[in-house]
Amino acid sequence: MSPAELAAASPLIITATGACLVLLLEVLGFSSLIRNFVVICTFVLCLLTSFRLGDFNDVVFSGSLFSDSLTMIYFAAISLAGLFTYLISFKALKGEGVTSGAETDSLFLFSTAGALLLVSAANFITLFVGFELLSLSVYALSGSALKQKASSESAMKYFIMGSFSSAFLLYGLALIYGATGFISYAEIAAVIPSIRSQLIILGVLLIMFGFSFKVSLVPFHVWTPDVYQGAPTSVTAFMAVVVKLAAFGAFLRLFSYCFSDPILFESWSKVGWLLAVLSMTVGNVLAIQQKSIKRMLAYSSIAHAGYVFIGFLALGQNGGGEAATYYLLAYSFMSIASFGLVSLISNNTKEQYDMDSIASYRGLGEKKPLYALLLTIVLIALSGMPPLIGFIGKFFLFTVAHEAGYTGLAIVAAINSVISLYYYLNIIVQMYFTKDENASAKSELGSEEMIKQQVQMSIPKFVVILCTLLIIVFGLYNRPLYLAAELAFR
């Protein structure tokens, strides 16, 4: 193996081995602590090895995998996000009715492997295999709370709709293969300008179907609210972050590398902007209607996908990919923090009938001041207020939209940000501005007691606090994030 091949393969090998090892350990009867340690080590190793990729700019394994800085950035982001979501899921999963630890642990790792494969794919076969590996593991993950109706329902919906859409993706891949005769990105990119076949554009549209489904762009979003709500919260976080990172990464790679032909770009962007507008608008408008916070965050993630997609429309110009990546990275932090907080908060409010209803956040500012404060920061960041992390990302997207001539899109995004403020702030209203009527009895617990509860540090809490701090720090000092985004599209 050449160094480049080694660099590209090692994270994949590590995660896949880790996944198998976890299952093995379970069979051999090792304690869950060791298993957890192995999983964490796998993620950390994966993260560390992925940095090697930055030294190369190659296609390896006879045109199967990329070994370059875009891969590096997404590898790093995915493994870090995987690590964080795994840490968040630590005790939470048990609370949500997930029985067997080993399977979920290995599924986390398998899906991470799939995500890595998807991002690094350099031909259609690896793309499809990565896509399916990721999807199948996540289908299983979302159904991992076996005894819960919601979980299995969401798994079923995700599975059926996901398979349906991957069939479309596959059909699209097949059509492009037919039209060009190649399956590797580089070759396809080379021949597309000389082939003006309707098959290609049809294929591109079908591929867009598949990817739009994974990143939940309207109208391919229909699964998102149900699945996000039904799946265990930490799995939801995993879906919202890792899956999105991987799918968007591959999506970006495909469109910036493989389908970068200007005339082709012109052709699909005729309808592409519609996806962005619909995603932003439908996502935000529907988020207002939600009573469950997970469902609300699902719709908000649809809207954020719409924002990211603005970057796609500017792929023809400098900076489109960077802006999309930047926003995606920023969104990942906010997403981990928000779902992590939801998971933490609902775990602590088990006695409530509606675990994740927005109404149950009433008076949280008094009951759990720390969580309430963190959630407030995260929500404000999600709404794109300066100086938090979401702001500069949005600004980049606006700038590239102007460059690509989509000023109207920027205005739509701005108006949507205003709409989104409404529902984000509504949570704050519940937490701080309204008092919980039935809380009077509970609050007799004494503030000392509550503070003691709050102060006890657990791993998920640590992760959430870390993410929130990063949201603030990267908001004020966005150089690292920007460099990452820039590096990806060097």
Binding site: F124, I125, F128, V129, E132, L136, Y139, A140, G143, L146, K147, Q148, K149, A150, S152, E153, S154, A155, M156, K157, F159, I160, S163, F164, A167, L170, Y171, L173, A174, L175, Y177, G178, G181, F182, I183, P225, D226, Q229, G230, Q289, Q290, K291, S292, R295
Partner: protein
């Protein structure tokens, strides 16, 4: 393979694909829906093989093998999920599995 054969095969696979789509959209039983999805995948396989033969290029056929493997895995995961749904809901009719809404 000549042009006519190509178009014929492609048409067949497209029709198969559409049948699959129609099945997914109209049927209620999740197992039937799942079979329809398999049909869609196989329709694509046909397309791939057709192109592969037409273009005299082995890639398509390799692709088909991967697709088949994935389909098998999909079947395993899918059936497991449907099983768990049946355990919880005592039905596999998709319309009755609708607790999540709003």
């Amino acid at each position: 393979m000549n042009e006519l054969g190509l178009h014929f095969n492609l048409l067949i696979s497209a029709i198969l694909f559409c049948i699959g789509v129609a099945g997914v959209l109209t049927r209620k039983n999740t197992i039937v829906i799942f079979m329809c999805i398999e049909l869609m995948l196989n329709a694509v396989n046909l397309t791939l093989v057709t192109f592969s033969v037409y273009l005299n290029n082995i890639n398509g056929q390799i692709f088909v093998f991967f697709v088949m493997a994935v389909a098998a895995a999909e079947a395993a995961v899918g059936l497991a999920i449907i099983l768990s749904v049946f355990r919880n809901f005592l039905t596999v009719e998709s319309d009755e599995v609708a607790e999540l809404a709003g």
